[in-house]
Symmetry: C2
């Protein structure tokens, strides 16, 4: 169908953008930023033009008119392409331009405000971005509250009220687990033997592990950046990055494990459908479930290290006298940090609960911008027992709002919850559980391939989880996992 | 003017293509080739569409109508844009498509034919490409012979007859110099002390030298590929590549010196005019003059190594007992090789003379495809004194014909000749000559910046050389340089 050809062309443009974006983060010379911005802006304009064109609209309508004859995948593709088309075309060009300009300025203001721990420098920009976000929400439409329309952009057909109820139900137990984990760590927290852990050894170990987990280096690579990420440059071109700390080899390794989780998902999507919803990842909450599953459920498990600790000891002789038990304690260490990106598995979700609550009020209009720092500090104290030293360590720490990424944060915890439910469902099958005990993850990956990856974006997140696990999305498995590991 | 805006947009597309092309040669995972081809083909179609559009034509005509009021640069830009537009639009779309398809098939056939040293597998493809080349020549038009129109694509407004006369006049002297250099080498040819020359040391030395010559690493980088090249991804983004041989550090270094010569030219072009002829390199023969100047006139000079040999000795301890005199002999070694890319400075041009003569006859129709191997072997024997062992070492060795790159070869020798003339003219200024003696090349680079780089493509090659050196293009300086070094 013509609309699918157009979608594939759109994906060619988008994947070319991804190449330029990847290069920008990895190898771009410092003086080349302006030309790169011009190249990316040209490509993104062309992609937007195409996906909002009359040609596209007619092709979509033609396809919809004959959709009854299509199979499940075809109908899902048309449904999701309609959804994307409507979301894209409901925003007037002037609003999109205003949004881009405002967030570009806001990013600079935010960086300065954060540097000086001075929220007032960022406040007017944030107020402007919130106005734009509310206008976008109004144009996109919602049934419950404006925040729904924003959340829908990251986790489609998920209601704010349902997420709020979920987070409320989790709060007491998450606090209990975090407090206990932090307490245990304070008593018994072995330090990793001192470095250097040479870069070459880290790279060798990381690549060996990623390959054994199933990451295909014929169709991907690992490079170095300040912030680890995973990006897809084509159906057979998935690139991970990590960062290296010569004092702690686990920093780069867990970067790789997390990003390889994203990468395995991308490599597992139906290759022939690249550019169509059926060949695309589903949502941030599902993407994050894959990264968290490999990072935390596998990478921090005793079974994994039974297999890999001897290899790590060969790479890094200083580990010879450091027992596996101590190494695991080191991996499971927990501490209350004011900074989300420094948080461990046991305390991470508290950061998300705080952000989600504040952001929801900001967007819906029940929290004034000027009152954000106080609300943040009070909410933080309730969850963590102390207040951040300043706004740099508080409400100014994340770039998300400045980028206009309102509605994003909840997906981190949804990812954690989904990861646990998927992992538990897979391991309820004896052959998968038995293999995992031997650190053989091929059966687990095969299950994820068929239960998650193969579906692309043809199901909604809740449908996917229900179909894959036999139960509606629920935090039960996640809490059980945290209790098991930290209590 | 609108035509200049369109040209800048065209350069944004072209430079995005360059990013993808660079990645393809450096970091692309092996399974990703198909998507990369799709991305590149989409971009090149958009670039072609734009540069041959009615919009472009009207904007060019509008600009031409008001050109009398423009300054020299503006008039030169319009003249060259008209030339490019006419060359692009004189070829019907069907011919361009036939050319692309034929050369794609020919490349595969050539690789196979070369592998098996079997010219007959390549012959029908070459015959087809020659038909296409002749049709292109007819459509582009020429005054002397069809080959003129092809040569004009690489070295504009240069006549085949003039190049032939130049090469004829050089032949006896080049043969005499080559024979003598080879004879000297056979008697006294010190071997480089054995490796390993560790990669990290090579990279450090290469980068230090490139930076001191003036290559701006804020606006460029060096990566690793099988074949060294230089490519421009934006006005401040020039990327070099080289390859490493742990047994001989000079291999990667001379790759860098050659490509840095190209890179210094690209970095020296007027940045604000990126995408216009006045901000573009002029021709292959001028580009090659820059690479050859830094590679051969500077990089193989005694003065250069007075400065750098002690640094190399620090990087590579095995050089400690290897005298500078022996090292220079090693750099100046010469041998008759059947393979052009293995040829040294003293024998290189003989390979070009052979190719130019044969290619000219092929294109003009006076040499049948079936007779090429015999003509090659006979011509080779006349120049080198022996015949290649087979066609793999003979007429099948270069990819140029299979890529449809007919008319290209002469520019290598034109580059050598231009390099010598420019270098001699620069060094006729006492302050430049004095600085070069101290291996301080800043004054030389400043002279090249103002005499060559700053002009972009606003002059023709012969005009540029004449204006820069005060004399019409001539091989006198080149022969003097070769005699000085090899006799």
């Amino acid at each position: 169908m013509r609309i699918f050809d157009l979608a594939r062309e759109h994906a060619v443009i988008g994947s070319a953008e991804a190449v330029l974006g990847w290069d920008q983060e990895t190898y771009l010379p410092s003086a080349a930023a302006a030309q790169r911005a011009a190249q990316l802006s040209w490509l993104s304009a062309k992609a937007h033009e195409l996906a909002t064109s009359g040609d596209w609209q007619r092709a979509l309508e033609d396809a919809e008119a004959s959709a009854e004859t299509g199979d499940f995948t075809q109908r899902a593709n048309l449904r999701e392409m309609r959804r994307s088309f409507d979301r894209a075309t409901r925003l007037p060009v002037a609003l999109v331009a205003r949004d881009a300009a405002a967030s570009s300025l806001a990013k600079h203001a935010w960086a300065e405000a954060r540097e000086r721990a001075d929220f007032s420098r960022f406040a007017p920009h944030l107020a402007g971005l919130l106005d734009i976000a509310r206008e976008k929400a109004d144009r996109w439409g919602y049934t419950g509250e404006p925040y729904d329309a924003l959340l829908d952009g990251y986790e489609r057909r998920t209601s704010t009220a349902a997420v709020a109820a979920l987070f409320d139900s989790l709060r007491p137990e998450l606090r209990r687990i975090a407090a206990s984990a932090v307490e245990v760590s304070a008593v018994h927290a072995p330090s990793l033997p001192p470095g250097p852990y040479p870069l070459a050894g880290q790279q060798r170990l990381n690549a060996q592990i990623a390959a054994e987990l199933g990451f295909d280096f014929q169709a991907g690579r690992i490079d170095t950046t300040h912030h680890p990420f995973c990006t897809t440059l084509g159906p057979r071109d998935v690139r991970l990055t990590t960062r290296y700390d010569e004092g702690d080899f686990t920093s780069s390794l867990f970067g790789v494990l997390h990003e390889a989780g994203h990468g395995l998902y991308e490599q597992g999507l139906p290759e022939a459908d690249f550019g169509l919803p059926s060949g695309s990842s589903l949502s941030l909450g599902i993407h994050e479930s894959q990264s968290r599953l490999w990072e935390n459920h596998i990478g921090r498990s005793r079974e994994f290290w039974n297999r890999w600790y001897p290899v790590a000891q060969e790479c890094f002789p200083q580990l010879a006298g450091f027992p596996l038990e101590d190494f695991l304690r080191y991996l499971w260490r927990a501490a209350f940090s004011p900074i989300r990106v420094d948080a461990d598995e046991a305390t991470y979700d508290l950061h998300i609960l705080l952000r989600f609550g504040i952001e929801r009020q900001m967007v819906n209009g029940s929290l004034a911008v000027a009152d954000i720092p106080a609300a943040w500090n009070e909410g933080f104290r309730e969850l963590f027992g102390f207040a951040p030293a300043n706004d740099r360590q508080g409400c100014l720490q994340d770039i998300h709002w400045a980028m206009g990424g309102l509605g994003y944060f909840a997906t981190y915890s949804l990812g954690n919850i989904n990861a646990a439910q998927l992992h538990a469902a897979a391991c309820s099958q004896p052959h998968i559980a038995a293999a995992c005990k031997q650190a053989d993850y091929a059966p687990l990956l095969a299950w994820l391939r068929s239960s998650v990856h193969a579906h692309g974006a043809t199901l909604d997140p809740a449908e996917l989880i229900t179909q894959a696990t036999g139960a509606a999305p629920s935090p039960t498995a996640y809490l059980a996992h945290l209790q098991d590991r930290y209590l």
